[in-house]
């Protein structure tokens, strides 16, 4: 028994997501307890839900949910690599594999689960792996690096995530599933089929109804999997994702009551068969169910904290609905997806060409939503889930909820939700909680997040949370701010309008009349770009200079070590041998790293700020102009060789690319703009991935708009066909100027199009049919910008005052000694911090020019 004056000793076994949530909640309860955490892994709790983001660049630190420092601040004792091996229930003690012993008053088991590996002969070889921990990921990464083909065994939710990871690692990826369909727990057969088609279209091969019998040595790959039906599949690595099993070994050893198929049995307070021992998360069995999601685990953790601190919260099961994106395919499953409820009826919608499947399951009276399956389009998920969770009565035609937006579709606005509606199931936040946070003074999504913690778990509720917050704020007369930053209470579009209508020519004028404070790195470049789009003055004019990002001021892109890159324009990618030689000579003289870019030109890296004017002087003298690689402006117009040389070319794509590049060079825009011109339908210039794409036809040119190849690729839309060159240019003028006028700051044309009300048809109406009556103005504006073009480098090197800007020091001609290079593959590269510490002898001397 605990004596009165000593703190209650709480020992937590396992520091996964749920174990950590328990510690955090108990700490916040201010109970008089001493918490000891025994963590089986080498690291403290991390976000397993986002585990896969490790493969897209997240580090272990990014995934961490806490740090040793935070636990120390909370007064929580924590031991890592402490695998608990025994519980001595008679004496309230636990022992770790290292032999350490800890006493407890209350013990909390949060040991989670482990991946099930089917008992197939050969499943224990070196490249047979699982997917659960960061260490597993490191092993997968290492194995993928020496493999060409990868197989995931198991086509459930985690299996498909694992397949995505292998795909991203560049492997030829296969999924082998025992059942006749993918995601059999969440989806019905029809939904599974649509998902399979979509995933195969992404290049992953799916094999259903395959039972693996042995894993043998392969002929063409490392291994060969032999299936029960006699077929076989060769692979270099195998990832098992065939389900999870509760980590209940400790319970078994210490004779706690377990379920028939495993799992430590708990009651509604999360207490096990021993009143001093709790179990929470994936190791716990409640009502004969294991909950393999984080939200129910969090609820269990809060329930256990409540019970320990004398509260009366009870665990009452959890909703297992899920919405996720697997390899870019949206999938949602709500409630009774399999129509198991007696008398259940369903509505289905199947759109095979677009790969969309939706099923709505309702009760026999067609009053309530029982469940739903969504594949390929989950935009109805939030609404359907709210219907299901809050027993909201269905509208007259329930099918309208899943049919593509017919006018009849009654949207369930945030307003229609009752206060009890659960908005964030991970953190258990209702609409009522959000309303009271707003009444308590929160006036933004950020505030509400901070106050209620809503949307800080899986993040699936972010859109719904924003809807509720915005609608509640609007109800209270708060205008939801679309202001660009704290200095201007206007959107970029509004500022553009103000500048134009009032003829404002400087930032200071605009700030004085329409803003406050001194400005910042958001509004200054945005206004700089607006002024440039409207007037196209010399960008480094004294009044404009302070508006520019460092890249625009120094007319080069700053690199990680503070040096700059030099990117001369090479219109259309066409370059003479003389110019190539000059680039080589300049690079050699200044010892610059030289690389062909992805934009068909040549980038010279590692120029110190004080070298830039001299370098550009030589380049300009040789006929080069700035390539605007630093600017939110036209970058490149890629071309293919076209009809001049290519036996298939039907038009002169190089000539047109050069003309277009020369016409639009220097045009400042909300974001960078890229073009490409292909000489025939084979599309070697990849024009359909560009902001403006032009493809030659027998009759003229097809124009594509608003494509993107970067962070979120978007196929360009076919805007007009068989244009003559004059009309082509006219249309491009109008499209670009309309974009410049109306887009948001840092919005590429692709995102602009996705947000443009009316979409492509509207843009065609504006540009081709002139519905707004602004085409003349758009063209005049473009002509003015084209006429005002100047090469910024040419202007800069001629002006001694501007050249002064490129001194490293105002009072010395020394160079920055922190910039150091080492040699790699015959060229320079920046020295790493470690190399700098290791010693200077290995450095390449910097040329002193």
């Amino acid at each position: 028994m605990t004596s009165l004056d000593s703190k209650t000793q709480i020992v937590v076994v396992g520091n996964g997501m749920v174990g950590h949530h328990f510690v955090e909640q108990l700490h916040q309860s201010d109970a008089n307890v001493e918490i000891t955490v025994l963590c089986g892994e080498s690291r403290l709790a991390y976000d397993r839900v986002y585990l896969s983001s490790f493969f897209s660049g997240a580090s272990a630190d990014d995934l961490a949910l806490t740090t040793p420092a935070q636990y120390a601040e909370w007064g929580v004792n924590v031991v890592t690599n402490a695998l608990v091996t025994d519980i001595d229930r008679d004496n309230n003690k636990v022992t770790t594999s290292e032999g350490q012993v800890f006493s407890y008053d209350k013990l909390v088991l949060a040991t989670g689960s482990y991946p099930f590996v089917p008992p197939i002969p050969g499943n224990d070889q070196e490249h047979c792996l699982v997917y659960r921990t960061i260490d597993d990921l490191l092993a997968i990464e290492a194995s993928a690096a020496v493999s060409k083909v990868g197989v995931v065994v198991g086509g459930g939710l985690l299996g498909l995530e694992a397949a995505n990871a292998l795909k991203q690692a560049g492997l030829d990826t296969h999924v082998v599933e025992f059942a006749p369909q993918l995601m059999a727990v969440q989806l019905d057969q029809a939904g599974g089929n649509v998902l399979k088609d979509k995933i195969e279209a992404l290049g992953v091969t799916v094999h259903t109804q395959k039972a693996t019998q042995t894993i043998e040595a392969g002929d063409t790959c490392r291994y060969k999997m032999v299936f029960a039906d006699g077929t076989a599949l060769e692979t270099d690595m195998i990832l098992f994702s065939a389900g999870i099993r509760p980590s209940d070994q400790l319970g078994r050893k210490s004779a706690l009551t377990l379920g028939e198929r495993g799992g430590i049995i708990i009651d509604n307070h999360c207490v096990t068969s021993d009143p001093n021992i709790y179990a929470v998360g994936e190791c716990a069995l409640w009502d004969n169910k294991i909950f393999g999601l984080v939200a129910p685990g969090y609820t269990m953790a809060r329930t256990a904290v409540s019970h320990i601190t004398g509260g009366d919260a009870e665990f009452a099961g959890a909703d297992m609905s899920t919405k996720l994106k697997l390899m870019g395919v949206e999938v949602g499953s709500i409630g009774d997806a399999h129509e198991r409820t007696e008398g259940a009826l369903s509505y289905t919608y199947l759109n095979q060409p677009e790969g969309v499947y939706k099923k709505l399951v309702v009760d026999s009276e067609q009053k309530l939503v029982l469940g739903a399956v969504l594949v390929g389009d989950t935009s109805d998920y939030d609404t359907l889930l709210q219907y299901a969770l809050n027993s909201i009565e269905l509208p007259e035609h329930p099918e309208s909820l899943i049919l593509p937006s017919s006018d009849a579709a009654p949207a369930l606005g945030a307003d229609a939700l009752p206060d009890t509606a659960s908005i964030c199931s991970c953190l258990n936040v209702t609409k009522g909680d959000i309303v009271s946070a707003i009444e308590g003074g929160c006036c933004s999504v950020g505030d509400v997040k901070g106050e209620t913690k809503a949307s800080t778990g899986c993040g699936g509720c972010a859109a719904l949370l924003k809807n509720v917050v915005d609608s509640e704020l609007e109800k209270r007369g708060v205008e939801v701010s679309k202001a660009i930053c704290e200095h201007f209470n206007h959107t970029r579009q509004e500022l553009f309008h103000i500048v134009k209508v009032n003829g404002i020519r400087t930032f200071d004028e605009l700030l004085e009349q329409h803003g406050e404070g001194l400005g910042c790195e958001i509004c200054k470049p945005a206004v700089g770009s607006i002024l440039a789009s409207v007037y196209n003055d010399y960008i480094l004019k004294a009044s404009h200079l302070p508006l520019q990002d460092t890249n625009d001021i120094y007319l080069g892109n700053m690199q990680k070590d503070g040096t700059y890159s030099v990117v001369p324009r090479v219109p259309g990618g066409e370059i003479t041998p003389e110019k190539l030689i000059l680039l080589g000579e300049v690079a050699k003289e200044y010892n610059l790293y030289t690389k062909i870019t992805g934009g068909q030109r040549i980038d010279l890296f590692g120029a110190r700020v004080e070298q830039l004017p001299d370098i550009w002087e030589k380049l300009v003298a040789g006929g080069f102009e700035t390539g605007h690689a630093y600017a939110k402006a036209l970058r490149t117009v890629k071309s293919c060789v076209g009809s001049t040389w290519c036996r298939y070319g039907v038009q002169d794509s190089v000539g047109t690319a050069i003309d277009l590049e020369n016409r639009y060079k220097g045009l400042r825009a909300p974001h960078k703009i890229k073009f490409a011109v292909s000489g025939c339908t084979r599309e070697c210039a990849e024009a359909q991935s560009k902001d403006i794409g032009v493809i030659a036809t027998e009759q003229g040119w097809n124009l594509y708009v608003c494509g993107n190849g970067g962070m979120k690729p978007r196929h360009a839309d076919l805007f007009a066909t068989d244009l003559d060159t004059e009309t082509l240019i006219k249309y491009i003028d109008r499209v670009l100027m309309f974009y410049v006028k109306t887009a948001d700051r840092l919005q590429r044309t692709s995102v602009w199009m996705d947000n443009l009300e009316g979409g492509l048809a509207y843009l065609q109406d504006v540009v081709v049919n002139d519905v707004l009556g602004i085409n003349e103005e758009l063209e005049a504006q473009m002509d003015a910008v084209v006429d005002a073009y100047q090469c910024e480098w040419k202007t800069t090197i001629k002006d001694p005052e501007s050249r002064k800007r490129f001194r490293q020091f105002v009072n010395s001609s020394a160079s920055d000694t922190n910039i150091q290079f080492v040699s790699e593959r015959g060229q320079v590269r920046p020295a790493t911090e470690a190399e700098k510490v290791a010693g200077k002898d290995q450095f390449i001397p910097v040329s002193m020019v």
């Binding site: 704290e486 200095h487 404070g517 001194l518 400005g519 910042c520 790195e521 509004c523 200054k524 470049p525 004294a542 200079l545 302070p546 520019q548 990002d549 460092t550 890249n551 001021i553 120094y554 700053m558 990680k560 070590d561 503070g562 700020v609 800007r805 001194r807 490293q808 020091f809 105002v810 009072n811 010395s812 020394a814 920055d816 922190n818 910039i819 911090e833």
Partner: protein, 122 residues
């Protein structure tokens, strides 16, 4: 031109170095001076018609490069800041504190302007 206010009290404690003349500064932008092998970023701000000069270390402790003088100037809640050109953290010009990270700061130096001459105290 007047120097930043907090400087006067410090005048006794520091050693003043003449670094440049006022026409070497660029209004609403930065330049860099080498003082005793220290790189000092100098910023000249026009605030409500009055010009003030600030000095902080030029080394960006997060980007690990000598670049702060090339950052954009602005204000946060009225206090003047520079945004690092590398990863855009904000440093308050008066104190050198980093807005985004509690435990990161750069040295802020006192500045005084006498006639055309600009001095930094180190």
């Amino acid at each position: 031109m007047t120097a930043a206010q907090n400087v006067i009290a410090l005048e006794q404690a520091v050693q003043w170095h003449l670094v440049c003349e006022t026409n070497d500064l660029v209004t609403n932008s930065g330049v860099c001076a080498l003082v005793d092998s220290q790189q000092v970023a100098l910023f000249c701000l026009k605030i409500k018609g009055e010009t003030q000069v600030f000095a902080i270390s030029n080394y960006d402790p997060i980007g690990k490069a000598n670049v702060l003088y090339r950052g954009l100037l602005g204000s946060i809640g009225g206090a003047p800041v520079v945004a690092s050109p590398l990863y855009k953290e904000h440093y308050f010009l008066e104190t050198g504190l980093c807005k985004e990270h509690d435990d990161v700061f750069v040295t802020a130096y006192p500045v005084k302007v006498e006639g055309e001459k600009v001095f930094v105290g180190i």
